[in-house]
């Protein structure tokens, strides 16, 4: 498909640009192309290293943002499944999906204008680094040809992501410019609040985050709000809560 080749060429050209913003632009270009080339209404690419560490690099629309937030807030969903298994997670009819891997997400996503979800792992060689998350408002499967396009787009997304690491390596430890620019690090406060709970609840980071997720879930509030309240000292999670 000519448009895929053009997309790949554009992304490769962006890789030669030492500016980290060019890398983010390239990821955005891939997401927008994904919406054009496939029967989906939104696409997002998020870097992951485990269930705690996940950051969206680009999302094409507000629903894609919200789907990512919901999955991160719950710590479960198709993106975690795709990342863990290395295979695509295709949910052509979300309302009827049996979802043993993400029962809570399946229940809560009913509130969103989403009929189908198609999630693809993004990997380079043996390294899995991200997911490409797409959704559409109506139910319906991807054809074999569309699936092939989606997998190729995921490959190009991997290429685009490698551009975020281009340039000098000073960002490795502290700068992470792609995380800094325009506050792209969405979950900053969640991680800060995790640090607060490490001290207040005397828990390891992983358990501290789980506790915060559980609290958010049981109070039916977004994780980001709970984190903001903890960081702002308006909320104190004590031992017997959550």
């Amino acid at each position: 498909m000519a448009e895929l080749e053009a997309l790949r060429a554009a992304v490769l050209a962006a890789l030669d640009d030492p500016d980290a913003a060019a890398g983010v632009d390239a990821v955005g270009r891939v997401c927008r192309a994904c919406v054009r080339l496939l029967p989906v209404d939104g696409a997002a690419v998020s870097i992951m290293s485990d269930a705690q560490n996940r950051e969206t690099v680009y999302a094409s629309d507000a629903v894609s943002v919200a789907l990512g937030e919901l999955q991160f807030s719950l710590g479960e969903g198709p993106c975690f499944q795709a990342y863990a298994t290395g295979g695509p997670v295709l949910v052509p009819d979300l309302a009827k999906a049996a979802a043993p891997h993400w029962p809570v997400f399946a229940a809560q996503v009913a509130d969103y204008p989403v009929g189908a979800l198609f999630t693809f792992p993004v990997q380079i060689g043996t390294i899995r680094l991200a997911t490409l998350d797409t959704y559409r408002t109506t139910a319906g499967p991807l054809s074999a040809a569309e699936l092939s396009v989606a997998l190729q787009v995921a490959d190009i997304a991997a290429l685009a992501l490698s551009g975020l690491a281009a340039g000098d390596d000073s960002w490795l430890d502290e700068d992470g410019r792609w995380l800094e620019e325009s506050s792209t690090m969405r979950h900053r406060q969640v991680h800060q609040a995790t640090g607060v709970l490490i001290i207040q609840l005397e828990l390891p980071a992983g358990q501290a985050l789980s506790r915060m997720r559980a609290y958010a879930f049981s109070h039916d509030r977004p994780l980001a709000d709970i984190a903001a309240d903890i960081v702002g000292r308006r909320l104190l999670l004590v031992e017997d809560q959550g």
Binding site: N53, G125, A165, D169, G176, M185, Q192, T194, G195, V231
Partner: protein
């Protein structure tokens, strides 16, 4: 002819077989050297490959004599193989002795090893040359057109494999760095939360404390942060002597 065709096909299959997931470049090049000697009118074959910094290494050879001759060329920086790499074009020498004025040291060394002809073919893809394939003969005379074409085709196959492996490896390193960066950022934010809570600071002040401590101890920010988060380093130690905690109400 039919027998040779079968062996040629077999050679490409063997080369392709070495291009599996976690293949070894050295293995691929040894296969290539052996196939050249088996299929072409050459007594020995050697391969030079440029490393990432562009300096040549002997990566494979079908015999010890060929290996010595390759090494000798690298040390003296002269000879048909080195010239082939630098000019990115085949160097065909039907009679080494007749051209000894071009590479006097190489001619003498080749003669000692009993080689009288040499054909050097570049390992090349488009504008990029990554090494050279050298075919040594014990008899005077040029390789046939057909042998040269086949030798170049084998070299091209190996080249594509090597370049692909390098490209994937390069991208793997980049994305590993990306995940490291994400993990570092997460841990630094968590450490800010730890310091802010223990020191009763806002997040901005907590970051300054963290950064100052890392600089004063010549440690990486992300390492200090990890130690804090995993409680291998006490927050009060990092806070000590920086800002006196405000009294908590």
């Amino acid at each position: 002819m039919a027998i040779r065709e079968g062996r040629v096909a077999q050679a490409f299959v063997e080369l392709a077989d070495t291009l599996v997931d976690d293949y070894d470049v050295a293995d691929l090049l040894h296969t290539l050297a052996e196939q050249c000697v088996r299929l072409l009118d050459a007594a020995a074959a050697g391969l030079l490959l440029a490393d990432q910094r562009g300096s040549l290494q002997v990566l494979a050879s079908s015999s010890e004599g060929a290996r010595l001759l390759e090494l000798f060329q690298l040390q003296t920086e002269e000879g048909p193989c080195v010239e082939c790499f630098h000019t990115q074009a085949p160097v065909l020498v039907a009679d080494i002795a007749a051209e000894s004025h071009r590479w006097p040291q190489f001619a003498a060394a080749a003669s000692r090893e009993g080689f009288v002809s040499v054909h050097a073919l570049p390992l090349r893809l488009r504008t990029q040359t990554i090494g050279a394939l050298n075919l040594f003969g014990r008899e005077r005379g040029a390789l046939s057109e057909e042998d040269l074409r086949l030798g170049q085709a084998l070299a091209d196959t190996a080249t594509i494999g090597i370049l692909q492996e390098r490209a994937i490896h390069h991208r793997e390193i980049l994305v590993e760095q990306l995940q490291t960066a994400l993990n570092s950022r997460v841990i630094i934010e968590q450490a800010k939360g730890v310091l802010a809570t223990v020191g009763n600071l806002d997040m901005g002040a907590a970051f300054i404390v963290l950064r100052t401590y890392a600089r004063n101890h010549s440690a990486r920010l992300s390492e200090v942060a990890r130690d804090l988060v995993e409680r291998d380093l006490d927050a009060t130690t990092v806070l000590a002597g920086h800002l006196a905690p405000r009294p908590t109400i």
